[in-house]
C-alpha cells in the first residue's frame, strides 16, 4: 500500500480525477467494464479478502437493484422480453440497467480507494493554499464516514457488554441496530457542535494557517504522472472523436473495433495502481524470504 500512498498528492489527484471523470462521463460498456475491473482489483489489493467480500455484500445487491429498476421505468428497445402491467420489459433496458449499475459500483469503488489513498493531509496540502475553507470542509467530510463507522462499532460493543443483543430473534436484532443508529445520530449532532466550538477555540477562521507535510517530488512521481497523462490523452482522443459513442436504445450498438485502442489505454490506466501495489507486495515477500 505504501507504493501508492507515497506518491505525491498532486499526482494522485490527477490520477483519480482522470479515472473518475472518464468512468462517469463516458457511456461505453467496455470503458465501464475496464474501470470496474481496475476498481475491483485495486480494492482487493488494498483490503484483505475478508473486508473485500464484506464490501461486495453491499455492491452486488446494489448492482442487482439498479438492473431490476431500470426496465421498470424505461420501456424503449427493440427486443421485447415480456409485458409487465401493459408496458414492455426490453432486453435493451436491462442491459442499460446493468451498465448503469456497473458504472455506479465502479465510481463507488474508485471513491473508496481514493478515500484510502488520498487522505485528509493530502487534501489540505494540495488545496489548502488555493481554497482553504473548501479543503478543510472536504477533509472533514472525508474523515466523517470512517469516524461514523468506528463510533457505531463502539456503541455496539458497549451495548453488547450491557447484555443487549443476546436475543436470537431477528426482529430483536433488527430493533437493536435501530437503537444503535439513534444513539449514533444523537452523538453525531452533538459532536458536530463540539467540533465547531473546539475549532473556534483553536483559532480557526482567524487567518491563514500553515500545514506540516513531508511530501517531496520524486522521480517515480514524474514517471507515473507522465504515463497517466499520456493514457488519459489517448482515451480522451477516442472519446472526443466519437469512437466510444454507444447507444443502448432503440437497439444496442455493436462494439466497433475502432474504439479498442482507447479502451485499451483506459484499461491500462485503470489497472496500473493494482499492478504497482502487487509488485510492491511481491518484492516485500521476496525480501522477507531472503533474510
Amino acid at each position: 500500500m505504501r507504493a501508492l500512498e507515497k506518491f505525491h498528492p498532486g499526482v494522485l489527484f490527477v490520477y483519480f480525477l482522470a479515472v473518475l471523470s472518464v468512468t462517469m462521463f463516458v457511456r461505453h460498456p467496455m470503458i465501464t467494464a475496464a474501470s470496474l475491473l481496475g476498481g475491483l482489483l485495486l480494492q482487493r489489493s488494498l483490503d484483505g479478502r475478508k473486508r473485500f467480500w464484506k464490501d461486495m455484500g453491499f455492491y452486488i445487491p446494489l448492482l442487482a437493484l439498479i438492473t431490476v429498476t431500470n426496465p421498470l421505468f424505461s420501456h424503449n428497445g427493440v427486443t421485447q422480453l415480456f409485458f409487465l402491467n401493459g408496458n414492455a420489459v426490453t432486453l435493451e433496458a436491462v442491459a442499460c440497467g446493468v451498465h448503469m449499475g456497473m458504472m455506479i459500483v465502479a465510481v463507488l469503488l474508485w471513491c473508496a480507494a481514493m478515500n484510502r489513498l488520498f487522505t485528509g493531509d493530502k487534501v489540505m496540502y494540495l488545496l489548502g493554499r488555493i481554497a482553504p475553507g473548501l479543503s478543510l470542509v472536504f477533509s472533514m467530510v472525508l474523515r466523517f464516514v470512517p469516524q461514523f463507522r468506528k463510533k457505531r462499532k463502539e456503541i455496539m460493543t458497549v451495548q453488547k457488554a450491557m447484555g443487549l443483543y443476546t436475543s436470537k430473534s431477528y426482529t430483536d436484532r433488527l430493533l437493536s441496530s435501530v437503537r444503535v443508529y439513534s444513539a449514533l445520530i444523537g452523538w453525531a449532532l452533538e459532536h458536530s457542535m463540539e467540533v465547531g466550538v473546539s475549532m473556534k477555540a483553536k483559532g480557526y477562521g482567524q487567518g491563514r494557517r500553515t500545514n506540516f507535510h513531508l511530501f517531496r517530488r520524486q522521480k517515480r512521481d514524474s514517471g507515473f504522472l507522465a504515463i497517466t497523462l499520456v493514457l488519459t490523452c489517448v482515451t480522451l482522443t477516442g472519446v472526443l472523436t466519437g469512437k466510444t459513442h454507444y447507444d443502448f436504445y432503440p437497439a444496442m450498438d455493436r462494439v466497433e473495433n475502432g474504439c479498442l485502442w482507447a479502451v485499451a489505454a483506459f484499461a491500462v490506466l485503470a489497472v496500473m495502481p493494482f499492478i504497482l501495489a502487487e509488485e510492491e507486495k511481491c518484492r516485500w515477500n521476496y525480501y522477507l524470504r531472503k533474510t
Binding site: H75, N76, V78, Q80, L81, F82, F83, L84, N85, G86, N87, A88, K168, S169, Y170, T171, D172, H245, D247, Y249, P250, A251, D253
Partner: protein, 185 residues
Amino acid sequence: MKKDILLIFVLVLFAVFVIRGVDIRSVDDYYDAHPEEVRPGSKTVTLSIDCRTIYDHYDDLEEALKKGEYLPKDGWILPETTIVLEEGDSVFDVLIRATRIYHIPMEYQGTDQNIYNSVYVQGIQYLYEFSCGPLSGWTYAVNGEPADVGCSMKKPADGDKITFIYTCELGRDIGFPVPETGGNP
C-alpha cells in the same frame, strides 16, 4: 420467536400484495389481438400515425434513430386504417388496440402518473418526446381538430378520423395553435 413469526407474516402479506398488482404477459400474448371484422352497423373510426415532420428537422433527430430502419422512410408509422369502435372507447383505447394489432411499440404515462388525469403518450415506434429537438412530442387530432384534452378523455364518434402526429415545434409545424405560456426552448 413470536416477533419473528409476525415479521415473516407481514413480509409475506407485502409480497402477496405486490405480486397481485403485477400482470406479466408474454410478447405473443400481448400482440395476440386481431382486427375485428367490420360488420354492417358496427361503428368504426380511422386511425393514422404520422411522423413526417422529423424529415423536415432531420438534423435535430437523435443519432441512434438515424442508424437502422427504425422509422418509416415515408413518415407513416401507420397509414390510415379502419378500427372498430367499441362502446365507451377513448382515443387512447383506439390507439392501444391498433398498436397491439399492428405490433407497434408504444410507451405511455398512465392516468395516475401525471396531474392531468389523462394518459400521456411518450413514444411510438422508438420515437419519443424530445427525440427530435426540445419541442418535439406526440399529439393528436380528431377530424383535423387539434387536441384540446388528453387522449384518454376524448371520446370519438362513429366515422371520426383520428391522427396521431409527431411535432418538432410544439405544434407550430403541423398547424396547431401554440399555447402562449409554453414554448420556451
